[in-house]
Point group: C2
Chain length 195, copies 2
Amino acid sequence: MARTQGSHSDITGPKVREAALRLFARHGYAAVSMRQIAGEVGVQAGALYNYTPDKQSLLMDLMKGHMDELIAAWEHQSSARDPMAALEQFTRFHIRFHSKRPEAVFISYMELRNLNPENFIVIEALRRTYEDVLADILRAGVNKGEFSVPEPKVAAMAVIAMLTGVNTWYRDEGRLSLAQVEEIYWGMVRKTVAA
Amino acid sequence: MARTQGSHSDITGPKVREAALRLFARHGYAAVSMRQIAGEVGVQAGALYNYTPDKQSLLMDLMKGHMDELIAAWEHQSSARDPMAALEQFTRFHIRFHSKRPEAVFISYMELRNLNPENFIVIEALRRTYEDVLADILRAGVNKGEFSVPEPKVAAMAVIAMLTGVNTWYRDEGRLSLAQVEEIYWGMVRKTVAA
């Protein structure tokens, strides 16, 4: 019986997160009820509490899950030791990773306001960890004399904002392929930090 | 009597918009009721309909007002004919204008999803108008041989995303003054489009 219960939970847990992600992105966290999420999943409202204690936990799961995945994916694929090569890798990685997750990216920026204070601190720390990845690449390039970046942390936030901005306009069916977009942005990022 | 009514409306209209801006930015459009907005203004819910026909009109007023103000402010202060000088002016203007209006900027990006289709078309057109200001500066610089920008429209969106990103981290009480932030970003923008 425990096994059946476990399997059921394994299937429904992701469904609950997917439904919450979709509804939060569409209507905003504050406008979505646990009842609506249950309806989207196709379970009774009461059953939802087998999978999550409350709506705040669901939001935190989504936001922390997104940041954990982002940082793990970077660590998994990061290989370049040369600052210029690492910067190119980061640029292409960031665009690809975020373009595949428009709803999670949207929520990550928009719903910071709805995290409770303890959760906010955790998410802010994860964001800083990710920004520091890029800031460290920039510092390494400055030390090597290849980059000129007066404020590495500010430049990291500026480049990340530029790259995440792709999500506001890129469409798969558009004139430019994602590979072309990567190429254009890499050309700009390279110049932005050039010595 | 007409004069009294007019004066009263002149005072309450801006108060309604300010209250709606504050509440939409805090909770999201979908989670805010006309009753809440009335409560924030200090009038009866029914009285609100003297100032706005519905919540969608209020959202549209805020978003269109923000874009109209942005475009008018740029046209008012824009003076440089030289592309490099115009780009510097645009960079500093964009940071200053947006840093003073965090709630309006937040809503302008977040609540696009809640505009009805006719209103969405109007706002999209205004955004394109503003992006074209920068794209035209970039094209002029390319023609003069001062900038190298393979895709002026994409570069305009990239630079605007970078500059608007200041709002996500800049604080008046922080280490850097807004003047220093302008200087750092101008240094990056200049290089981003450099020939």
